[in-house]
Amino acid sequence: MKRKTIALLGNPNVGKTSLFNRLTKLNQKVGNYPGITVDKRIGTLKTNTTEYKIIDLPGTYTLFPSSLDEEVVFNILSNQTNEDFPDLTVVVTEPSSINRGIVIYQQVRELGLPAIFVVNMIDEVDQKGLHIDYPALENYLQTKVLKTNARSGEGIDQLIQNFNIELKPYFGAFDLPQKYQDALHDAKQVFPLATEYLTWQYLAQNSISNLSLEKRSALQRIRQSHQLDIQELQKDESISRHDKIAKNLASIILKKENKRLSITEKVDNLLIHPVLGYVIFFGLLFLIFQAIYSWAGPLMDGIDTLFVSLSDAIAATLPKGPLSSLLINGVIAGIGGIVIFLPQIVILFLFIAIMEETGYMSRVVFLMDRWLRPFGLNGKSVIPLMSGAACAIPAVMSARNIENPKERLLTILVTPFMTCSARLPIYIVIIGLVIPDETFLGFNLQGITLFGMYILGIVGALLSALILNKIIKSIRKSFLIFELPTYKVPDWKNVLNTVWEKSLGFLVGAGKIILAISIILWVLGNFGPNDRFSNPETYIAEANPEFSQEEIDNEVTAYKTEYSFLGYLGRGIEPAIKPLGYDWKIGIGLLASFAAREVFVGTMAVVYSLGEDIDIEDESQKQTLFGRMKSEINRNTGKPTYNFATGISLLLFYAFAMQCMATIGVVKRETGSWKWTLIQTGFMTGLAYLVALVAYQLLK
């Protein structure tokens, strides 16, 4: 059986992904291109004679890259030794932007690659009042032109039959401007084997990552000696192509009036209205949050129950001992901690995918760009930031839509500052302990404090963006240009596929890291270096001769925690956290929280020997924990551990510190860089420490 590689290439919003899904019948996988995080979507298609590897290249308007995505396209198509170099390129367009598709089609052909031309969304030809003379178009493009409707499946078989097409040699459409001939001549000496157009592309691009340093500096010398400005080279090519195509298409595509745009315009008058547009957008956000909280709640409870019964089943089957404890408290607790977020992630991505598919997302970018730009962010940062108030994990993933790498990185770095749902239980406990339950000007003080914490998250994110914006160097100039596509009914297959892909990516990607850290924490919490850990009963009885057996048993868990490795670590970091007003018990809570913030409440319950299964929503259980925590005396200061100063200090620490290994895992995956992941963790935790320190020292 023959093997062939087919690349799908085209502008954004032409239905390329729907076509890809049709061709591969969802028989596809998503990976990363080496070294960067641009999604690499590859699928397979088998016919009687051939097995095709189909690559869905990122959407682009030209081979001159202006984002990481677009760089991938050029690197694959310009390098015959690339593992994804196609045997045939399929250029996908839609009826109203055929001229733009031809630009990239011509560029590909002139690089020397065989290509066929697809007009997708063929049902829109009539709707848009167009008449296309296909034989003339085929003649002009010197290739086969195919008509498809990826949503209905029309024309797909015909397209597949043409994957084996033999094309005649192509005659280029672009005449290199006379004024660049000398420079081009010099560049040809550097690349004796390349086509003329590829040489021109090398000359007209700044940093081509798959060329050797030597060749790059040779190009730079040629540009200098001929005083070439790459922007001008690109501009000259674009305009020359555009003018020629417009002239040639005049007799091939006839236009009557466009009906679709007039509907889109009416909807836009409402959705991007200077006032109403914002009202509608924030209303929609409110709806999404409601959905995330109310729909995800029961599902999360269900998952929780499932994992509890799984633990019970294991506890009943396996003999009590380290193995069952590792499985229950390490592995299952770790996996459960990830799966529990799945409902929120699925719901959030469902909304985001629908917003993308309908074309509304571009409108949001249009509305929000002005407000986020001063912070070094982009209109598109609004989705990750808002999602961050539910959970930073899907939020960080949704930053993929941002083209500019610096703005995307900044967005990923500051999103975890937003007050996520995992911070809520901690806030409730601490606010309940240190903020009086009184009213001030008719408002409940505890409520005001909680609201303040949410505001603090937003302020933290924006101010950090402002600081990091000064530090991070940009490899590309920030600019914004995007198309507002006509409104469409979403392609539900695409929506479901996106949700499935992202949810799975989260489970597998972040899951590995969470599992590893959970196991490490379990080991540290369940083993101790000496006899005090292995024989706690003896020591408790010695220290408290008056204790009954029952009282001793109650103390065992707390005692073991104190003398476990985790307990020693807690006491080890005590000097560092003492200035913040914490004792070693809070230290243990902090350390455990680095797995996930919500662990704090459970850990505190263990440390104060109340048993792990404390339900903070159960009033009487909450009061027990509160009573125990309130009476707790800090042995360093002799004052109550949870006083106003410590409480505020703790609140601030939890507001800013990066204490969620799931987020750390996702950030690593999304940035593809340990450097930025560690900088973020260090920056957030450092800031948290500093702010908590200042607050405690001022308030104590």
């Binding site: 932007s97 001008e232 501009k235 305009i239 555009h242 745009l261 991007i272 100039k477 914004l480 240009i481």
Partner: protein
């Protein structure tokens, strides 16, 4: 005929043709999306407080949004 105004000076609903560019700074994407000399355009929407502008490239029936900073580099003639 006013030749020396830049695109960012136009108001909602105004039409113009693109004349030339103030500098070569614009990325190739601008030309690819239809900001080419001679192209007729119409301002469809403007986000408040000097936010981005939404421009209809009339010949392609497409809506393109750009920031004012870049609109300031595009010279136009009002129609």
């Amino acid at each position: 005929m006013q030749n020396n105004i830049t695109l960012d000076k136009l108001k909602k609903g105004e039409k113009a043709t693109i004349h030339s560019f103030k500098s070569n700074e614009l990325p190739a994407k601008f030309y690819e999306l239809g900001f080419t000399p001679g192209a007729p355009i119409e301002i469809k929407h403007i986000a408040p407080l000097k936010g981005p502008m939404c421009i209809n490239i009339i010949e392609q029936d497409s809506l393109i949004a750009i920031r004012r900073k870049e609109a300031n580099l595009i010279l136009i003639s009002r129609i």
